[in-house]
């Protein structure tokens, strides 16, 4: 008898730790780095949270904590969520990586999903979107709308994620207009409306007639609207800030991914994964198109979308040259994901320094 109890307990412990038990109701927690707001990175995560709530009704209850500083503060918040019996916790900023891993060790029965990081564990999955695929498409649209063949790019910091954005946009732009230039201005900030505005104005003064950005404030879109030129929004739809200027936006969309992960936890089939979703998953996509974009351009972009989604076209397919003209990806080759994650150069056609 004693033996039986022991085996039962053991197998129970085993199954629990593997999470293979279906549940009727679960609690899902979200940790955000900034306020939910009306636009931007955190906004898209909160949209996905609302999507999950709507989809599952009574079966899922969600909690979110916004404006959580990266580092020690976040560890406390994540631990608190874990203590309060959340079954699945999404931590949505790069700086939550180590705290997430740390808390996850203490709570092996709770599932964690960390966005933008690279540390995985048995109960910690990582996910991110291939934003560069949408960037490429936005470059194609920008090129069709540009008359001066100069685009301006307001950039934050020279890290791989941002460099991929600039490069993919440039390659898309150049696929339509091979002689075009993309001018980059670094504002050394993720969020400084004043600086982003001035950076955009100075790019416009220097001949750019399409402005795009890898920063968080809508100021560049406003600058474009004021100057009567075009802009492409970033992270979420920014058309509110420039009805005429805003061509489209490069958007993250975690709705379906969150829904799927929550369903898996409900079913007890969740497993730690490393997801880098592209256009094929809908995790990244373009926003609404401005009416001024000609129909043939939209048709073009739709064809390209299908091609990229199916893998037929890769934005960074060789031959790919850096600014100095050195071959970074040989002709006929496609870079590995690991190379993309470490990207540290600007491609030919970008005007501006790496930092």
């Amino acid at each position: 008898m004693k033996h039986l109890v022991k085996t039962l307990a053991m197998s129970l412990a085993l199954t629990t730790s593997l999470g293979a038990i279906a549940k009727d109701t679960i609690k899902v927690g979200f940790v955000y780095v900034s306020p939910t707001g009306e636009a931007g990175w955190t906004y898209t995560h909160d949209e996905a949270r609302k999507h999950v709530e709507k989809k599952f009704g009574d079966k899922v209850s969600t909690t979110y904590v916004e404006s959580v500083a990266e580092g020690a503060d976040s560890e406390r918040v994540i631990r608190q969520l874990a203590k309060k019996g959340h079954d699945l916790i999404f931590t949505t900023s790069f700086g939550y990586m180590n705290p997430t891993i740390k808390v996850a060790k203490r709570y092996p029965n709770i599932k964690f999903e960390h966005a933008t990081g690279y540390k995985q564990a048995k109960n910690v999955g990582v996910y991110f979107d291939r934003m560069y695929e949408s960037r490429y498409l936005s470059g194609v649209i920008a090129a069709h709308m540009s008359k001066s063949n100069i685009a301006g790019f307001v950039a934050s910091f020279p890290i791989p994620e941002v460099l991929r954005s600039i490069n993919a946009f440039t390659l898309g732009f150049k696929s339509v207009k091979p002689d075009a230039k993309v001018k980059v201005v670094w504002v050394n900030s993720w969020f400084d409306p004043g600086k982003e505005r001035e950076a955009s104005d100075s790019l416009i003064d220097q001949g750019a007639d399409v402005i795009t950005q890898h920063t968080d404030s809508p100021a560049p879109v406003q600058a474009a609207e004021a100057a009567g030129i075009y802009a492409i929004g970033s992270h979420s739809d920014m058309s509110e800030y420039g009805k005429n200027a805003h061509l489209t936006a490069v958007i993250h969309n975690f709705n379906e991914f969150y829904e799927q992960r929550v369903q898996e936890v409900l079913d007890g089939t969740w497993q730690s994964e490393n997801v880098w979703g592209g256009l094929n998953t809908g995790m990244t996509r373009l926003g609404e198109f401005n009416e001024v974009i000609p129909e043939n351009v939209i048709a073009d972009v739709e064809v390209l979308t299908t091609k990229i989604a199916s893998g037929e076209l890769h934005p960074f397919a060789g031959p790919l040259k850096n600014q100095a003209g050195e071959i970074m990806v040989p002709a006929g080759e496609i870079p590995q994901d690991s190379e993309l994650l470490k990207m540290n150069y600007l491609v030919d056609g970008v005007e501006g320094k790496l930092n």
């Binding site: 636009a39 001018k183 100075s202 406003q222």
Partner: protein, 308 residues
């Protein structure tokens, strides 16, 4: 570099320098009366959000800017009460005001994130704006920029020729003596603090309604602190405050323009430029320690009460 670009750089310099000039001007007057208000950032943010909300609902720029300035005044009264009446540490009270302002503005503005208003239009002064090079920077700005110039002149003349200027200085140098001579030190300090609040509120409104017509949390991005530093380096002299504000604006713009022009300078170095340039120039101006002491209000940040 062609003429157009230089014109645009000068134009942007003035625009970038204006919020700094306004805040620094207000804080300078405040400090001359012996009160150090480190809450500039908080007052700016509250002015920015209140002005934006008023503008959004009333669709009147005048009301928007009036509300922005008034909000600054109201908040500065709170500071005045704690720091002047209750004699709390001015440094601590100012810091608390910044933290309070940052939080409250975020709370008040939560529903207005993602909304936008019509920007303050340019007010071109007739044919003057067609003068090459300086026409656009000087005569095609918006009303607040012109207002800031008027304010600079008024404050300058006030301190130079008006008895009131002298009274403020007396309150800042030696409130004890001023008081025994019959000066209403408390009232003078309150008025100076309120003037500082109005300027900071207006500067915040300039950010949310003219510079980048939108509200987002923490949109001042540290400009209040830069203005505070400007006042010290400008050794409490108005012409230097103006110079410093525009110098900072110019260097900020050059950081961005130089990148667009493809100059091969590290952008991190360029990002330092505004701070370094402003520091170097103002330090050179005030390198004489003895003279700097002459300008610093003797009783700056020292609590004072009539009975003590």
């Amino acid at each position: 570099m062609d003429l157009d670009l230089i014109t645009n750089i000068l134009y942007a310099t003035i625009r970038t320098g204006t919020p700094l000039l306004l805040v620094a001007l207000g804080e300078m007057v405040c400090e001359k009366s012996g009160v150090l208000n480190l809450g500039q950032e908080g007052m700016m943010l509250l002015g920015a959000v209140a002005g934006f909300i008023a503008m959004y609902h009333c669709d009147s720029l005048f009301i928007g800017f009036a509300v922005a300035a008034l909000t600054g005044v109201l908040i500065s009264l709170l500071f005045g009460f704690i720091a002047l009446n209750l004699n709390a540490s001015q440094v601590a009270t100012g810091l608390a005001l910044t933290i309070f302002g940052t939080g409250l503005s975020a709370f008040l503005g939560a529903d207005y994130e993602g909304k936008t208003v019509e920007a303050l239009p340019e007010l071109a002064l007739g044919a003057l704006k067609d003068i090459p090079l300086i026409g656009k920077p000087l005569f095609a700005q918006d009303a607040i920029v012109y207002f800031s110039w008027v304010l600079v002149v008024v404050v300058y003349l006030f301190f130079k020729h008006h008895r009131g200027g002298l009274a403020i200085r007396a309150a800042g140098e030696n409130p004890e003596v001023g008081s025994s001579l019959g000066l209403p030190v408390m009232r003078i300090r309150y008025l100076a603090v309120m003037f500082g609040g109005a300027c900071a509120g207006l500067a915040g409104g300039y950010l949310s309604m003219a510079y980048t017509p939108l509200w987002t949390e923490n949109m001042t991005a540290g400009r209040g602190w830069i203005a505070l530093a400007l006042v010290v380096f400008a050794s409490w002299r108005i012409e230097r405050v103006m110079l410093g504000a525009y110098l900072f604006g110019f260097a900020s713009i050059m950081h961005l323009v130089a990148q667009g022009l493809g100059l091969s300078i590290d952008s991190n170095l360029l990002a330092m430029l505004p701070y370094v340039a402003t520091l170097v120039v103002l330090v050179m101006l005030s390198k004489d320690k003895e003279r700097l002491k002459l300008f610093e209000p003797m009783s700056l940040a020292k609590p004072w009460h009539r009975n003590n």
